[in-house]
């Protein structure tokens, strides 16, 4: 860890953190403000949903239409898109670019000529990624919680809300470490952002398709989304040990491999 580099990286990435956090928080608050209208028009909504193709709700992680009318179910269905997809895109784009950007902008020739070990560079930057991902998760969760408190018509389970927030953070950290790993594998920086975004979307689609297509449920396990439980209204809802193990193992393995690769990486410019 090098504090000079760490602080510089925090500053470099601050604007994008503020923008992403702001946009996702605003979207969350805005969507939640429609909850009242949504509830009052429940008959119309049900009629509308009935004409949608089967699987549309699954796409947002909803298995029962009626779940949508509880405030937590409504929040969860939107949070899927905002934090589980957009938040993951933020995490992977940030992490896959943080080392490669120095190569892309040719600043690596300065950075690597200064007295720093590869390990110091790697960990200073990885720590910035970790911090940013944690910050965006905390801020959006707090916004979500406040919105829930404001629009709710009946009490909801704070525990369930927290469990879902932890799942979101674990998933985002998974993508962050995957991004670092990918960036240490490639030689050229340019295609990595597109590739990262594509990967998040593909993994998400694999998960949804496995949910709505009978016989394909096994392929869901190829996607980390399979290990995120959104069953917030289930009284048994909690953090599953398998999910925790899954996310910790993969994140650690990706980090470890990225570090080892980066330490010996040839930097081409």
């Amino acid at each position: 860890m090098n504090s000079n580099l760490f602080i510089r990286e925090l500053r470099n990435n601050a604007l994008s953190l503020v923008i992403w956090t702001g946009v996702i928080s605003a979207l969350t608050a805005l969507t939640m403000s429609f909850y009242g209208i949504f509830l009052e028009n429940n008959q119309n909504i049900l009629a509308m949903i009935s004409i949608l193709p089967e699987g549309t709700l699954q796409f947002k992680g909803i298995s029962d239409v009626n779940d949508l009318f509880s405030v937590l179910g409504f929040y969860s269905a939107n949070n899927v898109i905002y934090m589980l997809v957009l938040g993951s895109i933020y995490s992977i784009v940030l992490s896959s670019g943080i080392l490669l950007r120095e190569e892309e902008n040719k600043t690596a020739e300065f950075l690597l000529a200064w007295p720093l070990t590869r390990g110091e560079i790697f960990f200073s930057k990885a720590l910035v990624v970790l911090l940013n991902v944690v910050v965006i998760n905390i801020v959006t969760a707090v916004t979500g919680y406040i919105s829930l408190e404001i629009v709710k018509r009946e009490p909801f389970s704070t525990d369930a809300f927290l469990v879902m927030s932890v799942y979101t953070l674990l998933l985002n950290l998974f993508f962050a470490s995957l991004g670092l790993f990918m960036s240490t594998l490639v030689k050229k920086a340019r295609p990595i952002t597109t590739l990262s975004i594509g990967l998040v979307l593909i993994l998400y689609f694999i998960f949804t398709i496995s949910n709505i297509t009978e016989g394909l449920s096994m392929i869901g396990y190829a996607s980390p989304y399979k290990f995120v439980s959104l069953d917030t209204l289930n009284p048994e809802y909690g953090i599953e040990l398998t999910s925790v193990l899954y996310f910790f193992t993969f994140s650690l393995v990706f980090m470890l491999f990225s570090f080892r690769l980066y330490r010996k990486k040839d930097i081409y410019l």
Partner: protein, 295 residues
């Protein structure tokens, strides 16, 4: 014997389709200004990037100030400065911010005086954003950055690209004075004239291999000239037998073209009664020298 500033033995770096470098051996003593020349793509930057540990050697080894470039990279960099050929510094920073950022990586931090000295010498506006600067000014930023911590060894890669003649002269003057104070300079360039002005010894690299390491004086003594002669009529256009004509003269119509390394006076006296319409004497390009001597 003192520890050499740079000691490279049997260094090879191969990658993909690019040639890289093969079996490079170099020893640069402390206090030298050492030239490293070769055409583009010959392996100059690859060699430097191995020294800086951007690239890992395929085989062989390299030491700087007695330390291994891969294993002791961090320790080495407290004592080395580097001016990369691409002057792409952190474009979003102001010049001043960049110097401070860079200074904080070194143990000696309070180098405000040094920054002032160098920015005044190169007439750099410290408040300007690096992205708004011209190529030459960005080059000055890299040069200043490389010298802030008073390195024992300075590695420069095409440092004069974009610098105007005045700044180039100041840069050379600065290198000489820092060299007097004991700084070793490893000067990589494709320009023979830059290297001739500064260095005592030079290594020539071509196609990834060191072709020769020579004293500049020796290189200068057998300096080639490129001679074009246009005669009044083609009958005079006979091949001259003169020591110092280095290749088979190319004859077409009334013109003759050849490389000459002998005494210019003898050439002139051999030509004076031959009826010359026009004549030019040129410095051959570095490539032509390579082609002539080494292939």
């Amino acid at each position: 014997m003192s520890t050499p500033a740079i000691d490279i033995t049997g260094l090879t770096k191969t990658y993909g389709r690019d040639r890289g470098i093969e079996d490079v051996n170099l020893r640069i003593e402390e206090g030298e200004i050492f030239g490293f020349i070769g055409p583009n793509g010959a392996g100059k930057s690859t060699t430097i990037r191995v020294l800086l540990n951007l690239l890992f050697p395929t085989s062989g080894k390299a030491q700087i100030l007695g330390l291994d470039v891969a294993r002791d990279s961090k320790e080495i960099k407290y004592h080395t400065g580097y001016v990369p050929s691409d002057a792409n510094a952190y474009s979003q920073m102001e010049a001043d911010e960049f110097f401070r950022y860079c200074g904080r990586f070194f143990r000696s931090d309070g180098n405000e005086r040094r920054i002032r000295e160098l920015t005044e010498l190169f007439e750099v506006d410290r408040r300007r954003k690096i992205s708004d600067l011209s190529m030459g000014n960005r080059k000055k930023i890299s040069i200043i950055q490389s010298l802030l911590h008073k390195p024992k060894l300075l590695i420069v890669d095409e440092p004069t690209t974009g610098l105007d003649p005045l700044m180039q002269a100041r840069f050379f003057e600065l290198l000489r004075s820092e060299n007097h104070r004991g700084m070793t300079v490893f000067y990589s360039s494709h320009s023979l004239s830059d290297v001739q002005m500064l260095c005592r010894r030079v290594a020539i690299i071509g196609e990834g291999r060191i072709i020769t390491v020579e004293e500049i004086e020796a290189l200068r003594k057998r300096q080639l000239k490129k001679i074009y002669i246009e005669f009044n009529n083609s009958e005079n256009n006979t091949v001259m037998e003169l020591p110092g004509i280095e290749d088979t003269p190319l004859i077409s119509g009334r013109t003759v073209k050849f490389l000459y390394s002998g005494d210019i006076n003898r050439l002139i006296s051999a030509l004076h009664d031959r009826g010359i319409a026009d004549m030019t004497i040129e410095e051959p390009s570095l490539e032509e020298i390579f082609m002539h001597y080494y292939y």
